[in-house]
Symmetry: none
Subunit: 122 residues, 2 copies
């Protein structure tokens, strides 16, 4: 498995690894601290970190005894772009979406989107 997209998606397919990424969202962490909340051996977590690292999702830097793990969210970009290719399928066009964003940002005050909002979420 050499394709970066393969490696990123495969890395994300494991709940332990997704949890690790979420933890790293808060702050950089040492390997031991990453492993602490999981009910598995340190070696197992270390393997997960290798997979995340090879996928480019984290970087690791050794300082003394401690190896610090740092989130590298840029690695998600290619995967995100790939997924957005299927967003075009949606009956909306991104062009209109960009205009929407501009419109949402530009009005200085008189912006009352809450008026009569129904909850369409299911």
């Amino acid at each position: 498995m050499t394709d970066p997209l393969d490696m990123v998606f495969a890395a994300l397919a494991d709940p332990t690894r997704r949890a690790i990424l979420s933890m790293l969202l808060e702050d950089d962490m040492a390997v031991t601290d990453v492993a602490e909340p999981f009910e598995m051996s340190l070696a197992a977590v270390s393997k997960h970190l290798v997979i995340l690292s090879r996928a480019g999702l984290i970087s690791q830097e050794r300082r003394g005894r401690v190896k610090w793990c740092k989130l590298e969210p840029d690695a998600l970009r290619a995967a995100s772009v790939w997924m957005q290719g299927f967003g075009q399928f949606e009956p909306v066009n991104l062009d209109a979406f960009e205009r929407f964003l501009e419109a949402e940002l530009s009005p200085p005050a008189d912006h009352t989107p809450e008026s009569g909002s129904s909850d369409p979420a299911g």
Copy 2:
């Protein structure tokens, strides 16, 4: 592997399956036609389709002998949202995207966004 996020990401981790999804972006297809461009057995492709189906990424409907495969891009939504949690980097704000979808669906007629066209291409 029961978690839907696990299944979606695992399904996306295989290049054959991603290629199948891309093909289905064009149009619905019969299993045999999906399999045609791949240098593997029909049975192998059939297995891939099962995985995609279990992940919710496609639906299948049998009409006579032929089983039609249809892309279900909505299944990508949860994964996309999860990734967006890491995506201060992400070019598209999904939160705004949701609002955009609502806004696009609700207005009845008075929709004149053409004023002041800018060049969005990058």
